[in-house]
């Protein structure tokens, strides 16, 4: 697989959220607004990329029996750094994401990529994989959050996380027609199921087409 394919795989075919079902906890819990999604996505991209590079760099000196504890310590340290930075510079975001920032440590995507990819590949490939998978995760998160936010409130908006200044706001559905179910936990599961089903239908259609051409 060349580098570009490697990068693209994370978006649709191997989208960590909808196709591989990784990192579901944080995805469902914080996907209520676009702001949360972007903040969480950026935090995960940073942790995933840096941890992939570090783990790839130390892969030859790590004894394989204790590799998981080693990875976990690397990841936990990075997450703590990111958590402290968010707390210091983006207080509002820290307030809404709350306990889900430290829980990035146990996000399966990060340990999963460390074990499946970074421990076997060189630093450059691991860097690309980290960014690609991180963007795929963020992409999935944004789609889910935007859908839920539009259906539940009718508004799509985004504010600068550092200054809390509103950057844009559009009303897509009149206030009388919104369905508040979608901001509840049940709505999260339901939206997720619909998107995952749609993606699966799209994929099987695409593979049928490939077969017909052949």
């Amino acid at each position: 697989m060349n580098k570009l394919d490697n990068f693209k795989a994370g978006f649709i075919k191997e989208n960590p959220v909808f196709a591989l079902y990784l990192g579901l906890c944080s995805v469902l819990a914080i996907s209520t607004t676009l702001n949360n999604a972007v903040g969480m996505g950026v935090a995960v991209i940073i942790v995933l990329t840096v941890s992939n590079v570090i783990i790839s760099a130390i892969r030859k000196v790590t004894p394989s029996e204790i590799r998981i504890p080693v990875y976990i310590v690397v990841i936990a340290t990075l997450v703590k750094i990111v958590e402290m930075l968010i707390q210091a510079y983006a207080t509002d975001l820290y307030g809404t994401l709350g306990i889900f920032i430290p829980l990035i440590v146990v996000n399966c995507i990060i340990l999963g990529r460390a074990e499946a990819f970074a421990s076997k590949n060189n630093m450059l490939d691991s860097l690309i994989d980290g960014i690609g998978m991180g963007l795929g995760y963020t992409f999935g998160l944004i789609i889910l959050s935007a859908t839920r936010q539009i259906l539940a409130t009718g508004i799509l908006n985004f504010s600068n996380p550092f200054t809390s200044e509103m950057m844009f706001e559009v009303r897509l559905i009149p206030a009388d027609y919104v369905i508040s179910l979608f901001s509840t936990p049940a709505g999260a599961f339901l939206t997720f199921a619909m998107i995952a089903g749609a993606l699966e239908a799209y994929k099987s259609k695409a593979s049928k087409k490939v077969k017909e051409v052949k």
Binding site: L28, P102, N107, A186, A193, E200
Partner: protein, 191 residues
């Protein structure tokens, strides 16, 4: 006593960790195909959450807090949890090889079960004392086991039904989870 009971009911039913906090979803999706493995997983998770919470509680109050090292919480907690899971795995392997086989890869993955770290962190964050910590760290995994068991029973039935092709597998399970979340939402007025 009444407060402790409220804490217990809230953690088991109202703020159920899986359906309202979305934690521990990986084993929830992964080992919920059979009721027997769901119960085994529930037992293992209960043991790990309770044990790890006791350890981290002691560690935080006797060591980290005393020496002003609160920022090390995440790193020390995750190491405690990882060792505890390893320990549980050894016990299960020794005493119940059949359960060990049916849980498979999900057993070591309890380390990355967000529920475990969540309970450890939440005990500290909410400022619980020892008794409250004990109640809370038993109530949360009981809620987890309850929902996991109910869910696996529904899934066993689901295997026999005719599901639209794109929804087969995890997508339909998510729809079931949504309906369960709605049902549990009805319990919100209980306390």
């Amino acid at each position: 006593m009444a407060e402790l009971f409220t804490l217990f009911i809230t953690a088991v039913l109202i703020n159920n960790i899986v359906l309202t906090r979305f934690l521990g979803l990986c084993p929830f999706m992964g080992v919920s195909r059979k009721t027997s493995s769901a119960l085994g997983m529930g037992g293992a998770v209960t043991f790990v959450i309770f044990g790890a919470s006791m350890f981290t509680y002691a560690l935080y109050h006797l060591v980290l807090n005393k020496y002003g090292l609160q920022y090390m919480d995440l790193i020390t907690f995750i190491l405690v949890i990882a060792s505890f899971v390893q320990f549980t795995e050894m016990i299960i392997k020794k005493y119940s090889p059949a359960l060990y086989k049916s849980l498979g890869v999900f057993l070591p993955l309890i380390t990355t079960n967000c529920a475990v770290l969540y309970v450890a962190l939440d005990n500290i964050k909410q400022g619980f004392d020892l008794i409250e910590t004990i109640v809370y760290s038993l109530a949360v995994p009981i809620g987890f086991t309850l929902v996991l068991y109910l869910f696996s029973a529904i899934r066993e039935r689901l295997d026999l039904s005719d599901v639209p092709a794109p929804f087969k597998g995890n997508a339909i399970a998510m729809v079931v989870a949504a309906i369960m979340a709605l049902a549990f939402g009805g319990l919100a007025g209980l306390v």
